[in-house]
């Protein structure tokens, strides 16, 4: 996903700085990715405090194991998003399982479904935030601002054909959110986002 426009040099450098224990690098890493991490965790868990907790877990992991990121596998951003996704889904699953064990409502199948939905929603969020800006801008116009594609073309100063292309391509990217994670099983490292 959007691997081509990631700055691999920045990613590699960040990894090296984290690996050599530079606290300033940790701060920069937080400044760059915290809102992504917190947003994804919140999308999955729907709870502020839980999202704070995941944010802490993610950065602790990044700081303690920077070597577990392989720049060849893709951008740091994707790796961090995947890590967040995995931890948040795990937590949702664990919390749901615990609730069921204590006689909570619903069935294990309900839980699986809920976890899968949350997982897809979070992946969709990540796809939207990572897609090329022109595609995102077109979707933003057409969906949130209710502009039709002709108006979108005017707004963005592009041909109508291009507006149609961007809307279609944007949705095609977004539709991949349904791929990857089967049922409630969190995606493992290296799995495509």
């Amino acid at each position: 996903m959007a691997k081509k426009d990631a700055p691999p040099r920045w990613d590699r450098r960040m990894q090296q700085r984290l690996a050599r224990g530079e606290a300033a690098a940790l701060g920069e890493c937080y400044d760059r990715f915290a809102s992504l991490v917190h947003g994804l965790a919140h999308r999955v868990l729907g709870d502020e405090e839980a999202a704070d907790g995941i944010t802490r877990e993610v950065f602790v992991h990044v700081w303690e194991h920077p070597e577990s990121y392989d720049p060849k596998q893709g951008p740091l951003r994707s790796w961090i998003a995947m890590l967040t996704h995995r931890l948040a889904v795990q937590r949702l699953h664990a919390a749901g399982t615990a609730a069921l064990a204590q006689g909570g409502q619903g069935t294990p199948e309900d839980l699986e479904r809920r976890v899968r939905q949350a997982s897809i929603a979070a992946r969709a969020d990540f796809i939207v935030t990572s897609m090329p800006v022109p595609l995102r801008a077109a979707l933003e116009r057409a969906y949130f601002q209710r502009r039709d594609y002709r108006q979108t073309a005017v707004d963005l100063d592009i041909e109508e054909e291009e507006a149609r292309r961007r809307l279609r391509l944007g949705l095609q990217l977004l539709s991949t959110a349904h791929e990857a994670a089967p049922s409630g099983v969190p995606p493992e490292a290296g799995e495509a986002w």
């Binding site: 915290a34 950065f59 700081w63 969709a124 149609r164």
Partner: protein, 528 residues
């Protein structure tokens, strides 16, 4: 869609309609089955029908947003075109936050005929009706090219489009962002073209995944907590020095504020205020202008560390904070925009990083502020302080809440102010702005002299003894002639020149003249 058709009523009916709706012709069942077959082969095949919904929402309301412009099945009906054109708004009002529902409605919803019958039922939901999209003319937005949309309001002539065009319209169609005629043409086509129907279904389902980004403001205190957890688990080999931490934290807080503001807010007017030694003064700029100011003055530290000067060759003639800022503003042909955020943030990160390596123990360079200099440590505290003060200026200008710094950071900022007071007092005395004092003696350096006790209340507060007679004198509790008490944030506002010294709400005991001089000296610490 007519006024009466709330998106929910729409969706509700749609679901039942698929099976029992009176207005649902046999064609509906046929189409749904067809899509089911197609869907089995694609990525969504694993979750057809209600499976794609969240748990507990097999019922109709969850469908609120799904049936924007009529289902794909609607193509056989003459109502569909009109429906498709206006129905799109329902999708927005529905629940974009409900993932996975979009595809459903799209694939199985016989929106056209059914909703017509649903009219009365939907009336009660009128308040949820979105504004019709036809009002672009009134919105001030540029009008779209009207060329193809000149059809009469009722039963537009069928549009004949070639396959490539129809395919290219699928995204716009899924978003309900094409004309009524195009919608009709696409939907007619979907009945004949398996691959397009398949893609249409997938794209419509993807629309259900579009959600407002989670724009919850991150708790600024979370940064400190998270970083501390990390550093507790694995102590850093290259830590950020304590005295850089306030700057690091304040820059991060301001940056988080900036991240949340819109384009227009960057141009909101801000009045920079300070105390010029005798009275309050100010300079008008914008939010972006304030960031340019911070960039320019932080640049003094960058220059001292041998980093790039953000002013480059236009460096202010005198090198004072004000001179540099004015030079930066002058040098840009256009008023600053949000594009200053990047360079400002990059420089602040670079400062933190560089100072982590240089440490600052030996050979600490002095940072020149033009008329005076500060040690690297004090300069960084000063920059942290300024960052907070100006962040507050910005927050006020755009009506955002903004909290004071963490208590221990506030404490080091107050400490800096307290330590600078004796020199400022002496300078004011020299300039004839402060009274020599009735009992003034020349106190030799290192000897105790008259002292004012500054008591700062609130979190981050403490007590400071201020030597009144000369910067070299030693402050001593035994020589205390006055006692001033005020709140920590209030003291900082005074030192920022935002509160006139006459109005600083201070508890005062003792030598009134000494107190006045100290309060004026505190205000005089401020500058642009």
């Amino acid at each position: 869609m007519t006024e009466e058709e709330g998106p929910e009523g729409h969706g509700k009916h749609q679901r039942h309609g698929a099976h029992e709706g009176p207005g649902t012709p046999a064609a509906d069942g046929g189409t749904a089955a067809g899509h089911g077959r197609v869907a089995d082969g694609d990525a969504q095949g694993a979750e057809p029908g209600s499976d794609a919904r969240g748990p507990g929402e097999p019922g109709p309301p969850a469908d609120g947003g799904t049936d924007r412009n009529g289902g794909m099945d609607g193509h056989g009906d003459s109502d569909t075109a009109g429906n498709g054109a206006t129905g799109r708004s329902g999708a927005r009002v529905g629940r974009p936050a409900d993932p996975g529902t979009g595809g459903d409605g799209a694939a199985y919803g016989p929106a056209g005929p059914v909703t017509g019958a649903d009219g009365p039922g939907g009336t009660g939901r009128a308040p949820r009706i979105p504004t019709p999209r036809s009002s672009v003319e009134d919105s001030g937005m540029p009008l779209p090219d009207p060329s193809p949309v000149t059809a009469p309001p009722v039963s537009p002539p069928a549009l004949v489009l070639e396959h490539g065009v129809l395919k290219s319209l699928l995204g716009a169609w899924a978003l309900a962002a094409c004309s009524a005629e195009e919608t009709a043409a696409v939907e007619a086509h979907l009945g004949d073209c398996g691959p397009c129907a398949d893609e249409a279904r997938r794209l419509r389902q993807a629309v259900g995944l579009l959600q407002r980004p989670e724009s919850l403001d991150l708790d600024p205190a979370l940064r400190t907590r998270v970083l501390q957890s990390c550093l507790d688990r694995r102590p850093p080999r290259i830590p950020v020095p304590d005295w850089v931490a306030p700057f690091d934290a304040e820059a991060a807080r301001l940056d988080a504020l900036l991240q949340d503001i819109g384009d227009s807010e960057w141009h909101a007017p801000v009045r920079l205020r300070w105390f010029d030694g005798t009275g309050p003064t100010s300079r008008r700029t914008t939010v972006a202008g304030v960031i340019a100011h911070l960039l320019s003055v932080d640049g003094l530290v960058a220059v001292a560390l041998g980093l790039d000067d953000p002013l480059g060759s236009v460096s202010g003639e005198e090198g004072t904070p004000e001179g540099r800022t004015e030079a930066y503003w002058r040098a840009s042909h256009f008023p600053p925009t949000r594009s200053v955020r990047g360079p400002w943030r990059e420089q602040s990160h670079n400062l933190v990083r560089t100072l982590s390596f240089t440490g600052g123990d030996t050979g600490t360079p002095t940072v020149s502020y033009g008329g005076f200099g500060l040690s690297l440590r004090d300069a960084m505290l000063d920059r942290a302080f300024e960052c907070w003060v100006h962040a507050e200026d910005i927050a006020n200008a755009i009506d955002y809440p903004y909290e004071p710094p963490a208590p221990r950071h506030l404490n080091s900022m107050i400490d800096l102010g307290a330590r600078l007071l004796p020199a400022m007092l002496a300078a004011r005395r020299q300039a004839g702005l402060a009274a020599p004092g009735r009992t003034r003696h020349l106190v030799p350096a290192g000897e105790p002299g008259r002292t004012l006790r500054l008591e700062i209340e609130g979190s981050g507060g403490g007590q400071w003894l201020i030597a009144l007679d000369s910067p070299g004198a030693v402050a001593s509790a035994e020589h205390e002639v006055a006692h001033v008490a005020l709140d920590g944030v209030e003291f900082c506002r005074l030192a920022a020149g935002h509160v006139p010294p006459e109005e600083a709400a201070a508890g005062q005991v003792g030598d009134r003249e000494a107190i006045r001089d100290v309060l004026f000296a505190a205000a005089s610490l401020s500058r642009m």
